[in-house]
């Protein structure tokens, strides 16, 4: 127990706790996905839930990602609140028609007379040696699809609170869970609580430079900021938490204050969300406060490779953020 009465639990446990608490109080919520029952899910998120909720609500499916997404979409159209677990975010490629052409469109296409309250839990990201087909970060595809919301929590406490809001939201929400975050620990309140979607969180205040990050890049940015603090560089870290809808106000306020911004994400640079963030900043009143160009640190434009050294070199690491932020802090001086 910590002094505020919270416990320290892992990100994975926080996701599970959010699922359990919401399922206990809302009978319309259920889970479906591959191997989520007795196996407990590929990463163990749903371990033990079959015993409490039974096979109806912790629903194992065939290996049929299109039909899983369709089952979630159809149940949501009927007013239930399905949560589909895709084993790896990469496999959403097989679900895309249902997600993009059905779930995302139904509300608008039918004149606002229907809604699709569903959550897609998607373990994402690299760092586990799973290579090109089990390591992707596909958020940009979904951000680019009107009708879908995208959430990418970085801490255990955010994961639990944002998941509750995602389940209660009346729209399809892609909920990205970075695999390397699953074992990270944080202070999490025991009770049920919701963190609203669309609100960024300043995870560290600073005056010299803003790092805009989400998911795994948040702890890396915080670690980089600690190192640079020793060099006298005072960094502010903005954790977006929700990518769509985007909290532009918090980003603009921070960049207006620091005058320098580094955008960091794991997904490949070209066509990545960082380009959109840069455009939002450049087109805002923060532009007048910029003392240096907007910089982006992103994944290399290659598939994720297997070898540990190759894999590490593909996405931004703490030392990359340190180097980029150090250079940016001196630019334009």
């Amino acid at each position: 127990m910590t002094q505020n009465g919270n416990r320290e639990i892992t990100y994975l446990e926080a996701v599970r706790e959010g699922l359990i608490l919401e399922m206990r109080q809302d009978p319309e919520v259920f889970l479906l996905g591959e191997d989520i029952g007795i196996y407990g899910g590929a990463f163990g998120v749903t371990r033990g839930m079959l015993e409490e909720f039974g096979p109806e609500r912790i629903r194992d499916t065939p290996i049929s990602e299109a039909a899983i997404a369709g089952a979630a979409t159809g149940a949501a159209l009927m007013g239930m609140r399905p949560i589909m677990e895709i084993m790896f975010m990469d496999f959403l490629t097989i679900s895309m028609n249902q997600l993009v052409n059905q779930a995302a469109k139904i509300r608008f296409m039918f004149g606002g007379k229907a809604s699709i309250p569903m959550v897609v839990r998607a373990p994402a990201g690299s760092g586990t040696g799973a290579a090109a087909q089990h390591s992707q970060s596909l958020e940009a595809w979904f951000i680019h699809t009107p009708g879908i919301k995208v959430v990418a929590p970085a801490t255990a406490a955010d994961a639990k609170g944002l998941l509750i809001s995602a389940i209660r939201d009346n729209n399809p929400v892609i909920f990205m869970e970075h695999k390397l975050l699953y074992r990270t620990k944080g202070d999490v309140a025991e009770e049920l609580y919701a963190i609203p979607l669309g609100k960024a969180d300043v995870k560290r205040e600073g005056s010299d430079l803003t790092i805009v990050a989400y998911s795994i890049m948040v702890p890396r940015a915080l670690e980089a900021a600690e190192q640079l603090a020793e060099e006298g560089i005072n960094i502010e870290v903005v954790d977006l938490r929700t990518l769509k809808p985007l909290d532009e106000k918090t980003i603009i306020r921070s960049v207006s204050k620091t005058g320098r911004v580094l955008i960091a994400h794991e997904a490949p640079r070209t066509g990545g969300f960082g380009g959109e963030l840069a455009a939002v900043i450049a087109g805002s009143e923060a532009f007048d406060y910029l003392d240096a160009p907007i910089r982006r640190l992103a994944g290399r434009d290659i598939p994720i490779p297997y070898n540990r050294t190759l894999e590490r070199s593909t996405v931004p690491q703490v030392e990359d953020i340190v180097a980029a932020a150090r250079t940016l802090a001196q630019e334009g001086r």
Partner: protein, 341 residues
Amino acid sequence: MTISKVVLETDTSPVTSTGLLDELPKEKLAWMLQKMCETRYFEEKAEELYIRGQVHGTMHLSIGMEAASTGAIAALRPDDLIIHHHRGHGHTIAKGADITLMIAEFLGKEPGYCRGRGGSMHIADIPGGNLGATGVVGSGIPTSVGIALALQMRKSDKVLLSFFGDGATNLGEFHESLNMASVWKLPVVFLCDNNQYGMSAAIKKVTNIDRLSTRAVSYGIPGETTDGNDILAVYQATQTAIDRARAGEGPSLVENVTYRWRGHSKSDRNLYRTQEEIDDWKTRDPIVRFKQVLVEANVMTDEEVEAVDQQAKATIDQAAEEAVSFPEPSPENMEDEVYAP
């Protein structure tokens, strides 16, 4: 496991299920004729409006296929559900839609079913149990798994009819969905409106089986093929499948073999089939055939049958006249409609 039953070739004989003529009340039979006629006149009106330049988008006409849509939906209870496809005017009419609001949608008007956002391909009437037409071939099939799952989990005794065309049966989504619905014993009937062409692709050229319903074998569910131009045959096969679904015994696959007289859409130049073939199928008009059956069985007189027909025509004419004058939607603030509050 039930092995799919292979039935007769679609032919010109008037009817294959005359027993139903005794079972069904006259009002019901007259209603079936009415919905078929309304569908036919709706399609002809749609074509006319298009030719007159009053329609912005495309359309997919189901003329010649009225028995397949009306016959299946006639076997439903009013509170049951449907999900269907881009060639879906007939399903929407049979499910009881307000035809004025349908035409309004076709014309892109604000009072239309989808407020002019969906058009011909996406007409939905959620309160009426019509959960919408999808434009990507086969896309409604996986969604129907979820609809039926919700019915089952809520212990509802409602049933879902999930319509798609012959072209959809070669999609992976078809396979995934029928399998999933079968292992979960979901209350859904999969209805293949086999009009024999996926755009220009003859089903016989893209599929190596004679009857699409035989695919049911691989999911361990019943499969049946009917003469889809015989409304009573369609009704009967669907009724059997609905009974099974409602009893909690799971899905079935019903294939109704029919034919579309018109091209796939407005771009079609009919290069993939002969005029002789089209003319031959026109002699098997499902509406003419049903009228003949009703008269020959002394269910209705010639005059009664024609009265139903003319009333349907009047309904469509009146609806179109009203809908044309409806207001256009405003392009402002559409961003506010994308997400549900």
